[in-house]
Amino acid sequence: MRTGGGFRVLSLVLGVGLVVLGVLASFSAAAGAVGSFPSKPITVLNSSVAGSPTDVMARQVGQYARKYLGQPMVVVNKPGGGGGVMFAALFAEAADGYTIASLTGAQVAALHAELKKDFSFDNLEFIANVQREPNCLAVKADGPFKTLQDMIDHAKKNPSLKVGGQGTGSALHLMVMLLAEQSGTKLTWVPFGGGAESVTNLLGGTVPVISTSPATVNQYVEAKQMRILAITGDKRMDHLKEVPTFKELGYDIVMLQYRGFAAKKGIPQEAKAKLADAIGKAVAEPGFKEFMKKNSQPEGFLGPEEFTAMAREDFELMGRLMQRLSGNK
C-alpha cells in the first residue's frame, strides 16, 4: 500500500525523534536540578582561536581548578566579530554559572564601539582576573624599524603606514590611534581576526608593524624573528628589560590588558563565589605559577570586587579615549 509505507516511515521517524528528545530533556532536567554547584562541566567561552594567550590561560586555569570544582572547565572557542560572536553565545545561555567567558580588557572595551547596540558592560558579572600585561608594538627583527622613533620618522614622511592587530575599536586599535594622535602621524589600522593572524601578516611582510600582546610574540622575539618597539605598561617587563615603555619615550599611553573570567549578569551568588574561589586557588598552584613564568606573564589575580572595580575603571578610560579620538577625526 502506497500511503501505508509512507506513514510507517513517518511514524517511525517521529517515534525515534521523540525518544531522542525525551532523553535530551531528562539530561537537561537532571543537570538543572538544585544541588551543590557545580553539578556538571562548566563551559568557558573564548573569543579567540585555540592556542591564543587567553585560550591557554583559560585551559590552564581549568586544569588546576578542576580539583577544587569537582567538575571540568571546558573551553569552547567562539572567534570572530571582535568578540561579538562570543558575547552573543554567552548572553544566549542562562545565567546559571555553567557558561562563563574568558575575556580580555580589549574585548570589554569593544562594548563601547560596534558591539554597543547589542551588548552592554552592565550585563557582565566579573568573577576573577588572572593576568595583567601591557600591549606592545612589534616589528620584524630584520625590518627597517629599530626603535619607535624610526617608525614615527618613517610615518611622518610616508603617511598611511599600516599597523595590523586584532579587532576594530579594540584596546590594541585605540593604542595605535593614540600614538598617531600624539606623534602627529597618520597610521592606518588593518583589523585581523586574532593574534596568530597578526603574526603571520607581520612575518609575511603584509604589514610592517603589529599591535599585539607580548605573550603572543614572546617566542618570536626569543627566536630573533621579531622585535618589540615599546610596551604600554607603566614600567618595563622583567623578561623584556631592554624594551622601553611609551611613557619613557614621552607618550601618554598607559594601558594594561587583563585576562580573566566573567559571566552573564545575574548568576547565583553561590556559583560566583565558588568559581572565584576555585580560580583563586588554581592560580596559586605551583604548576600554574610555573606556566605563568614560562610564558613570561606577570601575575595579577583579583577577586570579584577588585576585578569589577578594575574592569570598570579600564572600561571608562577606554570610553573616554574612544570619544576623544572619534571627536578628533
Partner: protein
C-alpha cells in the same frame, strides 16, 4: 635527520604511544563518519583527557585522530551520500554513484588507499621540506586569500551539473548566506533577526540539511512507491584499478598539501579544487559524476594531504594551517610546549616522534579501512525503511551537537526542505556548501586588501602570488568554456 627519525620510531614503539595511535584512529573514524562531528571538534573533545598524559602520547593520540577523521568523512559520503565532513563533499560526486551501481567497495577501497597514500606522502614532505615550505604560509596575506577564494569559486563550473545558470544561482545564494552575522572587519551586525544568527549560519546544519535531510525526504517518497532490494558488493578494487588512479592520488596530494600549508584555507577548499583539477586533467571529463574512481581518489587524497600540510606552519612557525591544527596548538600549550620557531631546537625528540607516529598512524588507518570496508558496506543491506529514519535522527543530532542549540536542528530541516526542492528542479546543492566555505574568506580578505592598498585594486595584480592565483582562476574558467564549446558540436554530430 635519519637518526632523529629512528629515535622517533623507537619512542612511538612504546606501548602507550602505539595504543594511542590505535585509539586515536578508532575515535577518528567515528568522529569523521558522524556528520556534524569534525576533526577539530574531535580533538577538542579528547583534549581534556590528554592533560595528564606525557606530551608525545597526547600529541600522537590527537594527530592519529585528526588523520583518521579526515578519512572517516568519506565513508558516509560514499555509502549514503552524506559527507561526514565538509571536506568529503566532493567524494559524494563519484563515490555515491558507485554505490548506486552496487559497487560501494570499489569507492571505499580507492578512498582509503588514496587517503593513506596522501597521508604518508604528505608526512614525508613535511619531514623533508617543512622549514623552507613554511614560507608559503607567510606569502599569504589578504590579497592572496582573496585570490584563492575566487579560484575556489571557479570550481563551481565543474559542480554545476547540466546548467551553469543554476550552478551560479546556488553559489550566489550561498554567498548571500555568508553575509549573515557579525561582520569580522567592522564588527557591525548584519541580517541578525534572531539571537543565534549572531554567529552567522553555521556550516554543519546546512551541510547535513542539503545533503542528508533532503536525501531522506526523497527516499521517503520512493519508499511509498516501491521497495527495491539492490545487491551491493563489498568487493575492493583490483590492483589495476588502484594503479589507474595513481596520478589522481598524486595530483590530489600535491594540491591538498599546498592548500594545507596556507593557514585557514582548509580541507574543503582543497578537495573541491582537487576534484575540479582532476576533472580537467581527465581524458573523459564527461564521465565525472557518474562514478569514476579518479573522482573519488583525488579529493580523498587532497583532504588527507591537508593534515601534513597544516602541520608545516604549525610546527615551524606556530601558525595553525587548519581549524583542527588550531585546536592542536591548545594540546601543545597545555603540555607547556609552544609550537613555533624554537620547537625543533628545544624538542627534537617530540617532533620526530610525531612524524614517526604520523607514518605509522596512516598504516594503521589503512589497515582498519581495508578490513572495515566489507563491514561498512553492510550498512547498505539494512532496508531503506529502517536506515532512512536512523540517518535522519543522526543528522538532526549532528545539527544540534554543532552548537548545542536546537536552532541548528531547525536550520537543518529548513535546508533539508530547500535541498529537496533544489533536487526536484535540478539545482546542484554542492555549490552552496562551496560558497559558504569560501564566502567569508573572500569578503574579509577583499576588504582587508582594500585597507592595505588605500583602496587601490591594483594590489591584486602587483603581488605575484595573488596575481598567479587569479590568472589560474581565469584560465580555469576559460578552459572549461572553450572545451565545452568544442565538445558540443561533436556530441550533437554523434
Amino acid at each position: 635527520m635519519i637518526e632523529n627519525l629512528a629515535a622517533g620510531f623507537l619512542l612511538v614503539a612504546k606501548w602507550q604511544n602505539t595504543l594511542a595511535i590505535i585509539l586515536g584512529s578508532i575515535v577518528g573514524y567515528l568522529v569523521g563518519a558522524l556528520p556534524g562531528l569534525s576533526a577539530g571538534m574531535g580533538i577538542a573533545l579528547l583534549l581534556p583527557f590528554t592533560f595528564y598524559m606525557p606530551p608525545l602520547t597526547s600529541l600522537v593520540l590527537l594527530t592519529s585522530l585528526y588523520s583518521a577523521a579526515e578519512y572517516g568523512g568519506s565513508i558516509t559520503a560514499v555509502l549514503i551520500n552524506v559527507p561526514g565532513e565538509a571536506g568529503a563533499t566532493p567524494t559524494t560526486f563519484d563515490g555515491y554513484p558507485l554505490t548506486q551501481k552496487g559497487q560501494p567497495g570499489k569507492a571505499l577501497g580507492v578512498s582509503i588507499v588514496a587517503s593513506a597514500y596522501a597521508g604518508i606522502a604528505s608526512t614525508v614532505a613535511l619531514i623533508l621540506v617543512s622549514i623552507p615550505l613554511a614560507q608559503i604560509a607567510l606569502k599569504f596575506g589578504p590579497p592572496e586569500y582573496f585570490a584563492l577564494g575566487v579560484f575556489g569559486l571557479t570550481t563551481v563550473a565543474g559542480l554545476a551539473g547540466k546548467s551553469w545558470i543554476k550552478g551560479f544561482i546556488a553559489v550566489l545564494f550561498g554567498l548571500l548566506i555568508t553575509t549573515i552575522g557579525i561582520d569580522a572587519v567592522s564588527g557591525t551586525s548584519r541580517y541578525i533577526f534572531a539571537k543565534p544568527l549572531y554567529e552567522g549560519i553555521p556550516l554543519i546544519p546546512v551541510l547535513v540539511g542539503l545533503f542528508a535531510v533532503s536525501e531522506v525526504f526523497e527516499t521517503m517518497e520512493e519508499l511509498g512507491e516501491h521497495l527495491v532490494y539492490q545487491k551491493f558488493s563489498g568487493t575492493l578494487p583490483t590492483m589495476q584499478e588502484y594503479l589507474g588512479t595513481h596520478m589522481a592520488m598524486l595530483r590530489g596530494t600535491i594540491i591538498g598539501f599546498i592548500i594545507g600549508i596556507v593557514p585557514g584555507a582548509g580541507k574543503a577548499v582543497a578537495s573541491f579544487i582537487a576534484y575540479n583539477e582532476e576533472r580537467r586533467a581527465s581524458k573523459h571529463p564527461e564521465l565525472f559524476g557518474t562514478g569514476v574512481l579518479e573522482g573519488v581518489a583525488s579529493p580523498e587524497a587532497a583532504n588527507n594531504a591537508v593534515v601534513g600540510g597544516a602541520l608545516v606552519p604549525l610546527l615551524s612557525l606556530g601558525i595553525p594551517g587548519s581549524a583542527a591544527a588550531a585546536v592542536l596548538i591548545g594540546a601543545f600549550t597545555i603540555q607547556g610546549l609552544q609550537p613555533g620557531p624554537l620547537l625543533f631546537v628545544k624538542e627534537p625528540g617530540l617532533v620526530y616522534g610525531l612524524f614517526a607516529s604520523l607514518l605509522i598512524g596512516n598504516l594503521v588507518m589503512l589497515a582498519m579501512g581495508l578490513l572495515g570496508t566489507k563491514v561498512w558496506a553492510k550498512v547498505l543491506d539494512v532496508p531503506k525503511n529502517i536506515l532512512t529514519p536512523i540517518v535522519l535522527t543522526i543528522c538532526l543530532f549532528a545539527a544540534y551537537a554543532e552548537s548545542s542549540n536546537v536552532f541548528g536542528v531547525w536550520l537543518a530541516l529548513i535546508f533539508g526542505i530547500l535541498g529537496y526542492f533544489m533536487r526536484k528542479y535540478e539545482f546542484p546543492v554542492a555549490p552552496i556548501v562551496l560558497a559558504i566555505v569560501l564566502g567569508t574568506m573572500i569578503e574579509v580578505s577583499f576588504r582587508r586588501s582594500m585597507i592595505l592598498s588605500d583602496g587601490n585594486s591594483s594590489i591584486f595584480v602587483t603581488r605575484p602570488v595573488a596575481m598567479a592565483i587569479l590568472l589560474l582562476a581565469v584560465f580555469s574558467v576559460g578552459y572549461q568554456v572553450v572545451r565545452d564549446l568544442r565538445r558540443k558540436p561533436r556530441i550533437s554530430g554523434e
